[in-house]
């Protein structure tokens, strides 16, 4: 019975908040501001709790204090390094020694850059170049026409796109014309991306409307 009541309260609350956010479409108002504040507060709280239990408790506390020595991995003491860096980061709150928080930040930036360099270079540069280099049509000349067109589009699009983003030469003459083709390709990509975004946003709106009509108002089964 209680869970049924709670379910109804949750439904009404969700509907109240959804309509509150939608009310911004008419104009900015207090109802919207209240809903926005609730959203901001709850999301910040949710992340705090999630990080606390997953990192501080499960990873650090359990790893350092709860797990028996025999079951710990060889490098368990590395957790202390992480904790120390975390404390240094918190020193940002103390104005006098706030500059120390740059050290853990430097660690994060450095480690992330190192991690990215290898993976991005391998996946986004080397593999992409290797995959772009392919025959436009095959030996038997039996490739369907749409595949040949597709191969030409990939080769020309990549080539001219790179030309557009080449900054050491002025965009004049043949080079400039190639760059212009490149920008056409970019614009078509942006158009496709925009179209996809419209679909994405519509899906979210439909999801909310579906909730209002079926779960809340029970107008449809």
């Amino acid at each position: 019975m209680e869970s049924g009541l709670m379910h109804h309260v949750a439904l009404w609350l969700a509907a109240f908040l959804t309509l509150g956010i939608f009310s911004f479409l008419y104009r900015d108002n207090t109802w919207y501001k209240v809903c926005e504040a609730i959203f901001v507060g709850i999301s910040a709280g949710y992340w705090f709790v999630a990080y606390f239990w997953d990192n501080l408790y499960t990873k650090f506390w359990v790893g350092v204090w709860v797990t028996p020595m025999a079951d710990r991995p060889d490098d368990w003491y590395v957790l202390y390094v992480g904790a120390a860096l975390g404390i240094l980061m918190l020193l940002r709150l103390v104005p006098k020694v706030g500059w120390i928080s740059r050290w853990p930040l430097a660690f994060i930036v450095g480690a992330t850059a190192g991690l990215y360099l290898v993976t991005y270079f391998a996946s986004n540069v080397m593999l992409q170049i290797e995959d772009t280099v392919r025959p436009i049509f095959g030996a038997e000349n039996d490739a369907p026409i749409y595949e040949i067109i597709g191969n030409i589009v990939v080769a020309v699009g990549t080539f001219t796109g790179l030309i557009y983003f080449f900054f050491s030469k002025e965009h004049r003459g043949a080079f400039g014309r190639a760059a212009k083709v490149g920008i056409f390709f970019l614009m078509i990509t942006f158009g496709a991306s925009f179209g996809y975004t419209v679909m994405s946003r519509m899906s979210l709106l439909i999801g909310r409307m579906d909730f209002l009509f079926s779960d809340w108002l029970k107008l449809i089964k």
């Binding site: 479409l25 008419y26 949710y46 992340w47 999630a50 990080y51 997953d54 990192n55 990873k59 991995p73 991690l115 993976t119 991005y120 391998a122 996946s123 986004n124 593999l127 992409q128 995959d131 990509t189 496709a192 991306s193 996809y196 975004t197 419209v198 679909m199 994405s200 519509m202 899906s203 979210l204 709106l205 439909i206 999801g207 909310r208 409307m209 579906d210 009509f213 079926s214 107008l219 449809i220």
Partner: protein, 313 residues
């Protein structure tokens, strides 16, 4: 690729809504041509009608599966029964209406083919959405599938791409236990899975950071594991460069989810009765797109007309 229009429910509502929209669009065109401003709230009103009408009076289409979606479907079909597949829930409630239908369809398909499924999330908000799939799909539709024998829930782990960088070569280092604190070594279905590179397929469902792209960079490429993406439409265009070499297939947005659901029903008629949100949402989606296309056409007509008039002056 809409094959056939099957109108279910009351047609009257749809007809009235279409008439309302058509009349409104003509009014909008005439008003714009006269050079009068159109309030943006009027535009919102049109979109509201276009979205609401097909929800209240459902229109469903049969979707023809496109090659990039079919590649994912065929991959799951081609794996021998008993293969271990991972489904990662890397999204939040805001993205859920778009990508959760994909995650649910993947789950159904894997179980229907007899695969074992590893569920996990690298988004804190993905954990509760993963639980909802377990409740509404796994436990309800596949009660015979046993936890830790046929499927396992690893839960959420913080660390973004750092998590992926570790689990590709050592799963137990990052996930010593499943979500219920049961050690991975005592879970029968994971006896052979020491790392994510041992999996037969990874289905990365998401659209933000970290998402399918990070799965490709940190797991797919270095571990040589096939990855398929279920992506929010916003990020789908950025994933195409990885197809077909680094991503075996992509589901981009609700349209692809609907295609997948159609393919599922064609192959497994027993799923005809389950909820198919992808297909359900394609009615409102199509109508809303038609309205937006009308706006774009009207906007361009007015733009070029006023430009010509200015140049004549």
């Amino acid at each position: 690729m809409t094959e056939a229009l099957v109108v279910t429910g009351t047609n009257l509502g749809v007809v009235i809504s279409l008439a309302l929209i058509a009349g409104g669009v003509i009014w909008l065109l005439v008003r714009s041509l006269k050079g009068k401003e159109v309030e943006r709230r009027v535009i919102f009103g049109f979109v509201l009608i276009a979205v609401s009408a097909p929800i209240l009076f459902p229109i469903t289409f049969h979707e023809q599966i496109s090659p990039v979606v079919k590649a994912v479907f065929d991959k799951i079909e081609s794996l021998p029964a008993g293969s271990t597949v991972a489904i990662s829930f890397d999204f939040d409630p805001a993205m859920a209406p778009e990508v959760q239908p994909m995650a649910n369809a993947f789950t159904r398909h894997c179980f229907a083919k007899g695969h074992k499924v590893v569920f996990l999330s690298i988004w804190a908000t993905g954990q509760s959405l993963l639980t909802s799939t377990l409740d509404t799909v796994v436990r309800r539709e596949f009660p015979e599938k046993r936890e830790r024998i046929d499927w396992v829930n690893l839960g959420y782990k913080a660390g973004n791409q750092g998590v992926l960088n570790v689990i590709v070569s050592d799963l137990r280092k990052m996930y010593p236990t499943d979500v219920n604190a049961v050690p991975l070594d005592s879970i029968p279905m994971l006896a052979e899975v020491k790392a994510f590179r041992d999996l037969s397929l990874i289905l990365a469902v998401g659209g933000g950071f970290p998402g399918p792209k990070e799965w490709v960079l940190y797991v797919g490429d270095p571990g040589n594991v096939p990855i398929a993406a279920g992506a929010a439409a916003v990020t789908a265009p950025q994933l195409y460069p990885y197809y077909p070499r680094q991503l075996i297939g992509i589901l981009g947005g609700i349209k692809s989810a609907a295609e997948y659901e159609s393919a599922m029903v064609d192959k497994y008629p027993q799923f005809d009765s389950v909820d198919k949100p992808g297909l359900r949402m394609m009615g409102p989606q199509t109508l809303a797109h038609m309205v937006i296309m009308m706006f774009i056409i009207i906007g361009n007509i007015v733009f070029f007309r006023s430009k010509r008039m200015r140049s004549q002056l």
